[in-house]
Symmetry: C2
Subunit: 533 residues, 2 copies
């Protein structure tokens, strides 16, 4: 019954540059379609399946070989460059960007792939320390190839049977790590900013369920609290959700970048005295710049007292939960109402692999977000529709992001993930000691995690007293060294100013394949690039 | 200078199941790290780069071969099954889901990939007609492999030089198709639901810029309008953005599923008379169930008159803009303030490839969403920071979704994309005529696009008069046939009830590789599966 396609007629010869267009056989228009205003109906009786086209097959094969050679083997090798910097103007000229009426030969398309790889940052290079992620683990990479090729979408079990089950298992494992012994609920979504939005919406809905229907114009002024060190997505979320950025009360942090509980209490009292309604506290476990951990246990006490939703943004720091040595950094996280955790960061599960986890087990997530679309979430299905997770989400189509994490976790085991986290923190420690020992390097603070923040003071400034003028000169150093390292392609390390602190380097250590020599290299290289400044 | 890793000492032999853990060399702890509370600092002088590990290389190679064989070659072939249905209970037993302390041998991990492919829906099978997308084009698939391997993130030009430029070119091309001769602005994001949220936030911000800071509690009640046939994400967006689902005024549609302009005017007057503030109309170009197109031109007139933001949700129907024969369906779209268009649907660019486009050229998108994070969007960079697109987004990390579309567009050319769109509409027309001709098949309405909606009436019901009882029996037919087709794996077609209309099939035709015989097959197969009901 399924073999009808196999009776295809012989195809006309294909030219290379049109190999993907399928084979047309013009047949007579069926009588019934005549005179319906569709002139020249070009009915295709039977196309050759694209899989029968050897050119297609060959293109995909060649592209896979290219990726294997240029990314998997070469790009991650320390002997190559981290980036091939070109200015926007120059790169526009180098790339053949224009989209045309006519197609092109597969060889040209392959060249575009080669160019895209060549001019992209080598995030899997051992000297890429620029962001809170690096190029992904190989098992995770294979996981992404599998889901990209098969294209599941996680609204229904029917459409993504394997991935609905896998997402559930991974979420449960993450909740176990958090310490929610009775489980909870959750969903993977495209990034930590989204997870923080979920948290805010859920906290609001739990307190004022009528918001979903009535909107905020029927509500009192709602206020949430976060530390000055939090991720900028908290402000974005408040704007997007109609809460308003001014209703995000910013709590001062201590010298180490941790929210000060007493200051939080003060802010809560202020909000109440203004007639506003506090509803949520956002604690950060692993801040973006300093890698600090808010004191979750103490914040949980305050939230309990004031009946506030406690969300822990552990997008960056969540990985410490895998380490028996370092999980104390998140002490009290099991008391949170919700947690955001991005395994695409420290665990290298590939972008985007972001879990939003919620302790509630009464279906709050679904009640808050459901819209009950009849074309997807039919009630008369022949299987257990509790497996249809789509109505928990604010998305419709949703990628199978949990699979990459699951696959690498299966391959490596929890113990190896733990070893990797420990290794990264060890390297951060080693680098810190190096900074302390070397002339011209100044640590901002002892790191708790793998963010190592420091200034480089070029020899010309080392004798100058620490006046405002001195710091003004230091401010110009990091951007200049950054420009040089980008143009050399020798490594990538981020920099920024932060509060009153002028521009400094922020090293992020993630990869389990970097060692002490790589740490030494970073300091040597910064000195090499900046010694004349 | 970069060759230090090459001086690595010989590695200890690796066992197969631990090949990914890297090589450790325990060295003496550096003096300076002693006594700092970090016991057993396990400094790794130099890891062998993971690329040096032949097992890793071999695993990735084997996985690529597996994907080539099982997905690219086999899964898309008509002789195979569309799905290997297992109940959630059975599939849980079949898959080895549990995450353990220990890792496993690569061969086992490869088996997980094989299982995931085997039990996943074959979205690239020619008889998959279940959703508004199908498995992606091969060029797009290769594009996703490239970006998955290289892991760009689109916040800054520094981190994604190639992809910042490509996104811009693709957005410009799409705006050209819409007819915005003076261009505009835009951003790719994870799905059409997100795009509709962007539209709603932008429309609100443009009218009440103070919302970003103050929130909605300081605003009058805002109301938007959409037809009863719109996508459910409009309601989700209104809930999420704090507007409230009750402030989405639902405008009746005509028999063909198109918003009735006079009814829209009535609703606007109603809202105003209630003291609410209308701010936006959401028009749908290609509705989810019926594939209907709202009369954009007439709605644009009304929006102009009432100073309302016109958003066109063309996620599904936007592809018609590529066809000179069918672009009339979106007549007036150039007058919209914003457009959502998902090339991962009709154009097969792979999930998720969703563009949000806005006609404004004054930087509204960025003003509305920016948070100016100092660690990403430094003002003292050495290149043109207008290339840093991240602050237009509500995400932080953002995948390079435009690349897949760009790559396939380069390969195929605009003309071939047009041919594909035309082909899908031709096949929908052919199927429609087949439905009309056959006994027991009843069309809901003439399709405008490639959604073909119809009932199958089994022989046992064909003589019964069209009473409520008759329709009650028809209601049970589609779910039963759907169950049988899933369990047979012969094809996948969606069904739903819709308003007063009992369960019917909704065929979606997308792939350029399906022909008239596939259309005939669908009707034959439905009859074969349901003739005894």
């Amino acid at each position: 019954m399924l073999s009808n396609r196999l009776t295809t007629k012989a195809a006309a010869p294909l030219t290379m540059d049109r190999c993907m267009t399928g084979l047309k056989e013009k047949t007579n228009m069926p009588a019934s379609t005549k005179g319906n205003g569709w002139s020249h109906v070009d009915t295709v009786q039977l196309n050759s399946s694209k899989e029968d086209l050897p050119e297609t097959d060959s293109f995909v094969q060649q592209a896979m070989t290219l990726i294997m050679d240029e990314v998997v083997r070469k790009a991650g090798h320390v002997s190559g460059k981290v980036c091939e910097w070109r200015s926007p103007e120059d790169l526009t000229k180098l790339l053949d960007l224009e989209l045309s009426e006519a197609g092109e030969a597969p060889a040209q398309t392959l060249q575009h792939c080669r160019d895209a790889i060549h001019y992209s940052v080598k995030t899997n290079h051992p000297h890429f320390f620029n962001q809170l992620y690096v190029g992904l683990d190989h098992y995770a990479m294979v996981g992404s190839f599998v889901t990209d090729a098969t294209q599941p979408s996680l609204y229904t079990y029917e459409m993504a049977p394997v991935h609905c089950l896998i997402e559930k298992v991974v979420l449960e494992k993450m909740m176990e790590m958090i310490g929610w012994v009775e489980g909870g609920d959750g969903i993977f979504n495209p990034g930590g900013s989204m997870s923080n939005m979920y948290a805010m919406n859920l906290a609001r809905f739990q307190r004022f369920p009528e918001v979903k229907e009535q909107g905020l114009s029927a509500c009192p002024r709602l206020v949430l609290f976060t530390s000055e060190e939090c991720h900028y997505s908290v402000a974005k979320a408040a704007a997007f959700l109609g809460i308003g950025t001014k209703n995000v009360y910013v709590v001062p942090a201590d010298q180490r970048g941790k929210m000060i509980p007493k200051e939080l209490e003060k802010q809560i009292r202020t909000a109440i005295s203004e007639g506003a309604v506090p509803f949520m506290v956002n604690a950060t476990a692993g801040t973006t710049v300093l890698g600090s951990f808010d004191p979750v246990e103490e914040l949980a006490d305050i939230c309990e007292e004031h009946n506030l939703w406690l969300h822990v943004d552990a997008c960056w720091g969540g990985a410490a939960l895998l380490s028996s040595k370092h999980r104390h950094l998140l002490k009290g996280v099991h008391r949170a109402h919700s947690v955001a955790w991005n395994p695409h960061k420290m665990l290298m599960a590939g972008q985007q692999c972001s879990a939003f986890l919620v302790r509630d087990k009464t279906g709050l997530l679904k009640r808050c977000h459901s819209a009950c679309a009849s074309y997807l979430f039919q009630e008369d299905k022949f299987y257990d529709i509790s497996c249809d997770t789509g109505d928990k989400s604010i998305q419709c189509g949703r990628k199978a992001d949990a699979f990459r994490l699951w696959l690498m976790w299966k391959a490596l085991g929890t113990r190896e993930l733990e070893r990797r986290v420990d290794h990264s923190l060890e390297m951060a420690r080693y680098l810190t000691e190096g900074i302390k020992k070397r002339d011209g390097f100044r640590l901002l603070m002892e790191p708790e995690y793998t963010n190592v923040c420091f200034w480089y003071i070029p020899p010309s400034l080392r004798k100058i007293p620490e006046s405002p003028e001195f710091w003004q000169k230091v401010e110009a150093v990091a951007p200049k060294i950054k420009e040089r390292m980008m143009k050399t392609g020798s490594m990538m390390v981020g920099y920024q100013s932060h509060g009153v602190k002028p521009n400094f380097f922020r090293m992020i250590i993630i990869s389990p394949w970097v060692g002490t020599k790589d740490m030494d290299f970073v300091l040597d290289e910064i000195h090499r690039l900046g010694a004349d400044l």
